[in-house]
Symmetry: C2
Subunit: 363 residues, 2 copies
DNA sequence: CGATGTCATGACACCGATGTCACAAGGCGA
DNA sequence: TCGCCTTGTGACATCGGTGTCATGACATCG
């Protein structure tokens, strides 16, 4: 591979002049510039980042670790997708800044993290982004020789800068808009209570009801998922929860589910009970996991978890940390996503009239 | 950050001796070694890959491009997942070899590829893997200064080494096993005919029938998807195809779908027509897209597309190319995945007796 | 017209590792 | 005892860029 010396010789100038053409620092005469550019093209010259990094102490690299934060390797294959969108967002944000992403997916094996960190350190990454697989607290190992760190989709208790989804706002928006469309009895089958997302979204749910002057009815809110994923048990849990909530004296016209996968399960369960969707009951999810939400029949109303946007924000945050040296630990940055209305939630045209509590399908 | 000179000074030896301790070349006295290791630990020394790469001309980097091959940016958000698994497989395979993965996701914008290639070239990657989003022919831009290239999940017409899913074998296995379980009338609602996967899988389907002595009935094979994804049109297409196939004089007991998403749609459509799953009709998918297949109710029988394994194979192939310089273009490597049996396909207990063509649910 | 400033360019050192070669000390066979 | 090999170590050059400083050719200004 051609070097700057080859180019210099071929163009009949000094290496430093070639460097000036490359970087645009210092003045270069037009004729000289042309000669150099011709020579570079002829030789197919590409400057070496290694040499450049050595002199300037700037590698142009950003490290990224995903999958490391999962304490349970079991669910790695089931998640994954959100991380991908976050990564895409990060990439979009750093590419214009001429940074390159160095990615390691640990496959859930926390013990490999130190090794990865060392490799990143050897490559002299200028910053590091941890991507958690869902909104949660993480515990980062100490980072020897790695400067700036940002957590995406997670947080820790040391005040490491982080970017989080605005779960409360998302659920609030969904429920508020559903109320505006006439729903009054709104069930909420939540993810595991242990999750931060569940706590925050339940707050949003309750606040939306309160703002509309609707009393909070605790029999409408049921934990219907668990932390450890096991398809069979999860289905059973959901089945029971649906049993319970449909058996209420005044059953809901809309069921909000903890995520789109739960909603997908609910489709199967509700139909197995002979209900029509969304004619007999409306369903909403959370995540806007489009492969599910758009493909389900009918398409699923859901709240978008703004993964790509979070990636962008995380990358920008990291870049600002890299640039301005002495940065104090910032507050978590909350990113919210829109509600995606699709056919699975049907408007109740006139909620004040004494129609049946079952919604009517609008064509 | 400490350098090898700092370590040398702190240990009272020459830099070269530190280098020997690091790399284990040349003899080093035990006492000297201890001194050096103590100094390295004290200073938190991490060798610089840039300096190392410069001297040795080996960067330890492998480039990876995904999303580049999609000519349609529209469907980028819908795919994605398979690529992630391929990437995970690649990572698993190269990490033990002390290589680091440098990833760029183009987000479907082909025009950015040359820029990415240049960046990889500047970092002096030792090889490059293209990951296509589904089994198809791709057209790689010329690769200036980038040596070895492997395509994963795609192929080109220049004989670039590549790794492909064994679609024919997968569909053959699924249909063969379904026949063994008593199914005789097996419908096949395929992906777009233009896809390589469709052609190959249809061959597998036909061969399985032939091997069992069952005549191929072309009215059972219907193209029910299209290349350009549009959720609404796709649902319509599938609805029509199901209409047609269920209206046959001797309707199928099992529907094989082009992929798991189609199968998910079929669940909704079949149930909207009042059918029980899998009591009235069995369904099988393709991909083993676990988020869908395991979450659907009932869980979906499907063929695994061995993405992770393909990633591993692609990485190993690339490594062998990097090691042995003069490698001739190899044949495409076919990777096959297992059939995943779940409850959506019900055995027909005694296909020879004159029971109803509708399967009975086994508990 | 000489002092000063700007433009265009090159010589040289340096970033942090490692390959090459040299060399001293000690062991061993002739 | 001498020559030779092995072991342990260091001096020095080198990889491919860039920062610093010097230099020569002109243009400008008082």
């Amino acid at each position: 591979m051609a070097t700057i010396y080859d180019v210099a010789r071929s163009a009949g100038v000094s290496p430093k002049t070639v460097s000036r053409v490359l970087n645009g620092d210092g003045p270069v005469g037009q004729r000289t510039r042309d000669k150099v550019e011709t020579a570079m093209a002829k030789l197919g010259y590409v400057p070496s980042n290694a040499a450049r990094a050595m002199r300037s102490n700037r590698s142009g690299l950003v490290g990224l670790i995903t999958g490391a934060i999962s304490s349970t390797p079991s669910n790695v294959e089931l998640s994954g997708l959100p991380e991908l969108f976050i990564v895409q967002g990060i990439q979009r944000a750093i590419e214009p800044l001429n940074m390159t992403l160095m990615i390691s997916d640990t496959g859930g094996r926390l013990d490999r993290v130190p090794q990865l960190m060392r490799t990143f350190s050897e490559h002299r990454v200028e910053g590091l982004i941890y991507v958690a697989d869902y909104h949660k607290k993480v515990d980062l190992p100490d980072t020897p020789g790695i400067g700036k760190v940002v957590i995406a989709n997670g947080y820790d208790d040391r005040g490491t800068p982080c970017v989080l989804p605005h779960d409360e706002k998302g659920q609030y928006a969904l429920v508020s808009e559903a109320i505006a469309k006439g729903h009054r009895r709104i069930g909420y089958l939540t993810l595991a209570n242990a999750l931060d997302a569940t706590r925050l979204r339940t707050v949003g749910y309750a606040r939306a009801l309160a703002d509309a002057g609707i009393a909070y009815d605790s029999s409408l809110v049921i934990e219907a998922d668990m932390a450890e994923p096991d398809p069979e048990v999860e289905t059973q849990l959901l089945w029971d929860a649906i049993d319970r909530i449909l058996g209420l004296e005044d059953p809901p016209t809309l069921l909000c589910m903890g995520n789109d996968r739960m909603a997908m399960r609910a489709y199967g369960i509700l139909r197995s009970r002979g209900l029509n969707l969304p004619g007999d009951i409306s369903i909403a999810g959370y995540d806007n996991y489009r492969t599910l939400a758009e493909t389900l029949y009918p398409p699923l109303t859901t709240v978008e978890l703004p993964y790509a946007a979070m990636g962008v924000r995380a990358a920008r945050l990291l870049m600002s940390l890299i640039r301005e040296e002495g940065q104090k630990p910032s507050e978590p940055q909350l990113v919210s996503g829109p509600v995606c209305w699709r056919d699975s939630v049907t408007p109740l045209v006139d909620p004040k009239s004494n129609v049946t509590p079952l919604g009517r399908k609008t064509t």
